[in-house]
Amino acid sequence: MVTLFVALAVGAVLFGIGLYGALSQTNLVMIMMGVELMLGAAMVNLVAFWRFLHPEVYAGQMFVLIVMTVMALEMAVGFGIATGRFRAKGSVEMEEARELKG
């Protein structure tokens, strides 16, 4: 019983840190790291729910696998965009990202 709350608490704090990071950083790469942390927090909660509430249904674990793939995807596409922008604009700072073209 206690572990459930410990896990959920850790998930919540990690989510908080990820949110702070994503919003406060000016660099695309750092924002992506914030998002990764938030996804990690989500996974912690998912595993906690599966373990303590419905261990017989494996959909929970399945969902965690999906979140893991999303993490990988988010990183891949994020760096694709970062490379594209870096080549065109010479920087990946979010301040100058006014227009979407190019």
Binding site: L19, M33, L37, A76
Partner: protein, 166 residues
Amino acid sequence: MAQAVFTGSFGVAAIWFGVVVFRTSSMVRSALALLFSQAAIGGMFLAMETEFLGVLQIMMMATEMAIMAIFMVMYMMDPGGLSEMDMTHQKRASLAAGVLGAFGALAVALLAGWGPVEVQVPAATAQVHDLGIEIMERSMLIFETTGVTILTAMIAATAIAIQRRH
């Protein structure tokens, strides 16, 4: 009870590394701090007896975050963190948002009635076996679509990154 202690300790490690990710000025350090925080999350999975997910998480994160370290070095202004630049803006607003989010989630976690808690969980080998069956039978469709999504993401990322021949 021991399980709570283990999960808690891995959790504290994950949180501490998470904080280091955004506090340090050297980019490679923050990338590897994220690596260790994700590995700590993997450790939490192991502590909660979902062994396959824990091992998978630890394995994946090592490669992923190392690649992130490369991109950090490539794109950041001064990766060594020599001149203590402050790379943040609207600090106060984001801090408030973060704290608000954390407390919201905590409130839900503590207050909601989660109902009866299972104590036993199938043995690790049984879990791996059942997860395999689950992937192959019930959620076969989900697994296939994930595969295809990964493919499209790869193609999209390369298409964006390629230098257009003009």
